[in-house]
């Protein structure tokens, strides 16, 4: 199967005065369409840096990363915006819903930037909220929803652009254990329905809910294995 994400010798440097931090120190991996994959590692290991680059929010210092045919390092600002809108669905730890908008309007938001007509947008947002089990909460505002429900709205929003990839940064970090499990189960279901999901976590238990774990430390990938199986393609390590 063709790779959805292809990363080669990816580095990201941050200069802090005289010191240079290697947030990513030469990273290689491939992620295929339809995978459900976790990137784990302790704090400061480079997970968020990697996720920002995969999501087109940031560009690498060197190396090459191609996602669904888009060479992230070579793209202009506006092209990255279109890439984020069309190819990536973000799910954040703190949900990041706009508080003055209803659940439905929050889900519509990415489609506004996609230039989709209001009627189509509303129908699609409603269908997505049904899909994540919030059909009865469409006109609620974020403050009227529980944490788990808010994260479901955020997931519906991530699905709005029909993205090739759902990218979740610590999606269960702000939730209690049971609610977190429900959210992971939702990702699992979306994956079975065909979505490619990459989630970033420091929690090995969360990672175990996925099918593949890429482990990072100090900007390097230190292991990459199929969950419940043996390590895979060590060649890239």
């Amino acid at each position: 199967m063709a790779s959805l994400i292809q990363a080669r010798d990816l580095t990201k440097l941050y200069r802090m005065g005289d010191e240079t931090v290697h947030a990513l120190a030469g990273v290689n991996f491939d992620i295929a369409r339809g995978e459900y994959c976790a990137i784990v590692g302790p704090s400061g290991s480079g997970k968020s840096t990697l996720m920002n680059i995969i999501g087109g929010l940031d560009t690498p210092t060197s190396g090459r990363i191609v996602i669904a045919g888009n060479d992230i390092g070579a793209m202009a600002d506006d092209d990255l915006a279109v890439f984020r809108n069309q190819t990536i669905g973000f799910v954040f730890q703190s949900f990041n819903l706009l508080p003055r908008m209803t659940a439905l309007e929050n889900v519509e938001l990415p489609m506004i930037y996609g230039g989709i007509a209001p009627k189509e947008r509303r129908e699609r947002a409603a269908a997505l909220l049904e899909r994540v089990g919030l059909g009865a909460r469409m006109t609620h505002r974020p403050t009227q929803l529980s944490g788990g429900q808010q994260q479901r709205v955020a997931i519906a929003r991530a699905l709005a652009g029909n993205p090739a990839l759902i990218l979740a940064d610590e999606p269960t970090g702000a939730l209690d254990t049971n609610t977190g499990k429900e959210i992971l189960a939702l990702f699992g279901r979306l994956n079975r329905e065909g979505a490619t999901v990459v989630l970033v976590t420091h929690d090995h238990e969360v990672a175990a809910a996925t099918k593949r774990t890429i482990e990072m430390r100090d900007g390097h990938i230190v292991s990459d294995r199929i969950n419940g199986g043996t390590p895979r393609h060590d060649a890239h390590l």
Partner: protein, 412 residues
């Protein structure tokens, strides 16, 4: 790319989410535009008033009166002999006709007498004039006709009424063909003048009756003084440029004829156009000054918008980061925040325009000036406030558009 309708919806949602703040922000522009509109309208009203009085006095006009002008501006009678008011004659007027650049010369004699018609009494200014008076003073006939030179020489008992006199004495019927009584005699009305309205000095110019000069000399003002003296000579020059030279020529000519020297003149040549023009220029400067001062307050309103937009960008940093992560381009963010600023300033401009017009109406009616508000003024006020929104909204919007989404999302 965001749709325009979505752009407008998102800007109006942001402004409505904090109505008090939006209102207070717009208030700066409201006050600025209101004061610009009111001040410019007031100034334009004053200017129109002055211009109207220039036109009504007659353009390119010199007025020669007897007596010397004091430095204070008043006219002093010639000392000695009590002859001071009798120094101008018909012959002087005829001599002035020969000068270069003269279009019309109209000697006139003023008289005060009661005018009676229909059992009504009225006290207008009565002027004995030659037909050329209409040309010199830019009067026009509204109905009937002016008397001609033959009628003037024959001292016919005919008159032309000013609009005020016509209205007062003949409120319901056409005055032409009717008669009035003056100084015991009966006079036929042959014409009515077009209205000129108030002069710049608050005088009703239409409160006038014109009679042939000879008639006035013989039958109304009586035999006081010499038979050929006049109280005024109106001289119309062919152009405004010729006015200055003509004034000097008239002065030189009259000095020769009266055998006086400069400084001892027994007459005064007034150049009214230049006086009123100077007044018009003064009011224009006054208008610009008031408008300019008010524009500063509009500028302050703009700074208020910039201030609030910067606060808003800071407060909504996380929202901006999210919007960018979800696919907003720099242009989308720039337009969203720019539109918020322009909406604030244009809304302020429209409200300010309404208040300014109301204020101008109040002030002009207080000072009895004409209310001059053109679509041009209104368009300028709205356009200027939009410009203020664009200018002062640009920097905060640019700041928002340039925010790094990663940094912005990390913000609490």
């Amino acid at each position: 790319m965001m749709r325009t309708s979505d752009l407008i919806a998102s800007a109006s949602r942001a402004l409505r989410s904090n109505p008090l703040r939006s209102a207070l922000t717009a208030l700066g522009v409201i006050i600025g535009v209101a004061s610009v509109v009111a001040m410019v309208a007031l100034g334009a009203g004053a200017q129109a008033q002055v211009e109207r009085s220039i036109a009504s006095l007659g353009s390119n006009l010199l007025i020669v009166v007897p007596g010397a002008q004091r430095s204070g501006g008043g006219v002093r009678a010639q000392a000695g002999g009590g002859m001071g008011w009798d120094t101008l004659t018909m012959d002087d007027a005829e001599a002035i006709v020969q000068l270069e650049g003269v279009v019309a010369v109209a000697p006139s004699q003023r008289a005060r007498t009661q005018v009676i018609a229909n059992g009504l009494n009225w006290n207008p200014q009565v002027e004995g004039v030659t037909p050329d008076y209409l040309v010199a003073r830019d009067w026009r006939i509204a109905s009937g006709r002016m008397f001609d030179e033959t009628e003037e020489r024959q001292a016919r008992r005919i008159v032309v009424l000013g609009a005020t006199v016509a209205n007062e004495l003949f409120p319901n019927i056409e005055p032409v063909g009717q008669t009035v009584r003056m100084n015991g005699g009966t006079f036929e009305i042959v014409g009515v003048l077009e209205s000129k309205g108030q002069s710049g000095f608050g005088m009703d110019q239409d409160d006038i009756v014109l009679a042939p000069l000879t008639t006035v000399k013989r039958r109304i003002s009586g035999r006081r003084g010499r038979a050929d003296t006049v109280s005024q000579i109106s001289v119309k020059a062919e152009s405004e440029d010729a006015l200055g030279t003509l004034q000097q020529d008239v002065e030189t000519l009259l000095r020769q004829r009266h055998r006086t020297r400069e400084g001892e003149d027994d007459f005064t040549v007034q150049n009214l156009s230049s006086i009123t023009e100077a007044a018009a220029q003064t009011t224009q400067v006054f208008t610009y000054l008031l408008g300019g001062i008010s524009a500063v307050s509009l500028l302050v309103g703009g700074i208020g918008i910039m201030n609030i937009m910067l606060v808003s960008v800071t407060e909504r940093t996380r929202e901006i980061g999210l919007r960018k992560a979800l696919g907003a381009r720099q242009g989308d963010i720039l337009r969203q925040f720019g539109l918020e600023a322009v909406t604030l300033s244009v809304a302020g401009g429209i409200i300010g325009l309404i208040i300014g017009v109301a204020g101008a109406w109040l002030m002009t009616s207080l000072f009895t000036l004409p209310l001059v508000i053109s679509g041009w003024h209104a368009g300028l006020a709205i356009g200027f406030s939009a410009l203020v929104g664009v200018l002062f909204g640009a920097y905060p919007a640019w700041r928002a558009a340039k925010l790094d989404p990663i940094e912005a999302l990390r913000r609490e």
